[in-house]
């Protein structure tokens, strides 16, 4: 065939089609159904049910908490990954395994445990049950592994020569971290943060017990949705879900853009 060239590797059309088909089946079609449900009564109705005071408070709280989760995780997750990669201590492999436990535990169990420990009858003397602090804690628990597990492999692969070169050029430990190590961790950190963020926004099981579901106080978006399904208002529930989707998608795209910027030197 004149002018036509066959690719040596793979058939992009086929693999692309598969990826898109799979993504549609598992993610896009269900999401479209949510949107369709929300739009049942038309745009005007949608806004009315989505933009009421209680829904707005739930959304605000959700994104505030997710922001807090992201900030805390970025620091502690990086520190944990650093310790696991760079330090040697007895029981390191056990600590390493513990990091994944929040993934292994049904989140409702996590909520139950937190409530038992930090609730009114807990032995620790801290009572955060039915407060925003309690919800934050539950979210931190379930999002712990994300940043650790994305930053850790990058830290392992990071060329130590670069740090030694910086040291011999006169850079102190902090400068080496800030100018050399951190820029290399940033893309992975952003990925981890995006995952933690998404999880924090959608989390339901871990928060339902400890939040106690007080509207305007501890009611996060997922609980709002749950309540409205329970009280036979699926349109209100889907309307808020759609708002959440739009905001989350925008934020995830932004993080992705940041990530592209942070890896500009690789292209």
């Amino acid at each position: 065939m004149p002018g036509a060239r066959r690719r040596a590797l793979g058939t992009p059309a086929l693999s692309g089609g598969l990826a898109l088909g799979y993504l549609s089946l598992i993610v896009l079609i269900p999401l479209a159904a949510v949107v369709a449900k929300a739009a049942d009564g038309g745009w005007h109705h949608f806004w009315q049910v989505a933009w009421n005071r209680e829904a707005r408070a739930a959304l605000e709280l959700t994104f505030e908490l997710a922001g807090g989760v992201v900030a805390v995780n970025a620091v502690t997750g990086t520190a944990l990954a650093w310790t696991l990669v760079r330090d040697d201590f007895p029981g390191k492999s056990i600590v390493n395994a513990i990091v994944d436990l929040p993934f292994a535990l049904p989140t409702i169990v996590a909520g139950l445990t937190l409530l038992a420990l930090y609730g009114p009858t807990g032995g620790v003397g801290v009572d955060v049950a039915y407060t925003r602090w309690g919800v934050l804690m539950a979210l931190l628990f379930v999002t712990l592994p994300f940043v650790v597990r994305t930053v850790q492999p990058v830290l392992i692969e990071l060329d130590r020569d670069m740090e030694e070169a910086a040291a011999s050029l006169g850079a102190g430990r902090f400068t080496i971290f800030r100018r050399i190590v951190f820029p290399h961790l940033l893309p992975a950190l952003l990925s981890g943060v995006a995952l933690a963020f998404a999880r924090a926004i959608g989390e339901f099981g871990a928060v339902i017990l400890i939040a106690g579901n007080l509207p305007f106080k501890t009611e996060v978006a997922s609980l709002y949705v749950f309540e409205h399904i329970n009280s036979d208002d699926p349109t209100g529930a889907s309307a808020l879900a759609v708002l959440m989707l739009v905001i989350s998608f925008t934020l995830l795209l932004t993080i992705g853009g940041l990530r592209r910027w942070a890896t500009r030197h690789d292209r």
Binding site: E164, A167, S168, L169, A171, G172
Partner: protein, 321 residues
Amino acid sequence: MSKRFGDFVALDDVSLSVESGSLTALLGPSGGGKSTLLRVIAGLEVPDTGEVWISGQEATALKPQKRDVGFVFQHYAPFTHMTVFDNIAFGLTIRRRPKDEVRARVEELLELVQLKGLGGRYPAQLSGGQRQRMALARALASQPEVLLLDEPFGALDARVRKELREWLLRLHDEMHVTTIFVTHDQEEALELADTVVVMNAGRIEQVAPPRELYDEPANAFVMSFVGPVNRVGNAWVRPHDIEIGHEPREDAHEAQVERIVRLGFEVRVDLVRDDGLRLHVQLTRHEADLLEIAVGDIVWVRMRVERTFSAGGEPTHPVPV
């Protein structure tokens, strides 16, 4: 000084002094301790015993940041997330030098290492040789007292390596910064350095100028590591110290020509002596042409100079045979 890593003795009671402004090679097989010695000088490793002095100052306990030493890593360790310009400027910007000063110095260095106009690129967009020169410029930027290079040409192809060697030599002549480089390539050491330190198994075998190293090796290891060599019984003979003739002589052996390789100016002849010993001989093209030998010919070979070393490795006098 000495340095061990677990059971492995990397440096075994090594003592070395390097003259200011000189160009010194640490030469030896891998695992011989030369890179460790270089890293100790840079402060990247701490010796178990011993001291490091730089320009009359004790530096043993000094952190690498304070040693005023430029280090070029084997794989250059470029800061991959920074442009070439920012790489070279790194040592200056962290010292908070004024912007124009940094710019002027970096431009000067870019010109010196022949990377003018490439300051805006990232290291991934450079060739191996360019990356090497960038690493060199980065190490030179804050004008260190000592420049250390770990296998500086190891990862480059032969042609680039040769160019860079010549270039480094010119650079050293211009800058006169005390330079120590590690290599396992004896040709590289002999060509570049004014002093060669031969290291093996954590010890220094000999410190000498290239010519002395070749002509008066301190022991059998140096003799066999620096330059090609034939072993004849207890003696060592350089391939160019073997004479080939057609006439029988009392002090010569009969031998058969097994192979002839012409490499331009040099002609290599492999022979098997009547007692079964294999010999490698180097002739100039002119010598080979006069001899008119061919594969299968029977000739007479005679050692012009051979060296023997005592059991302790010390040289006994070279004997003209």
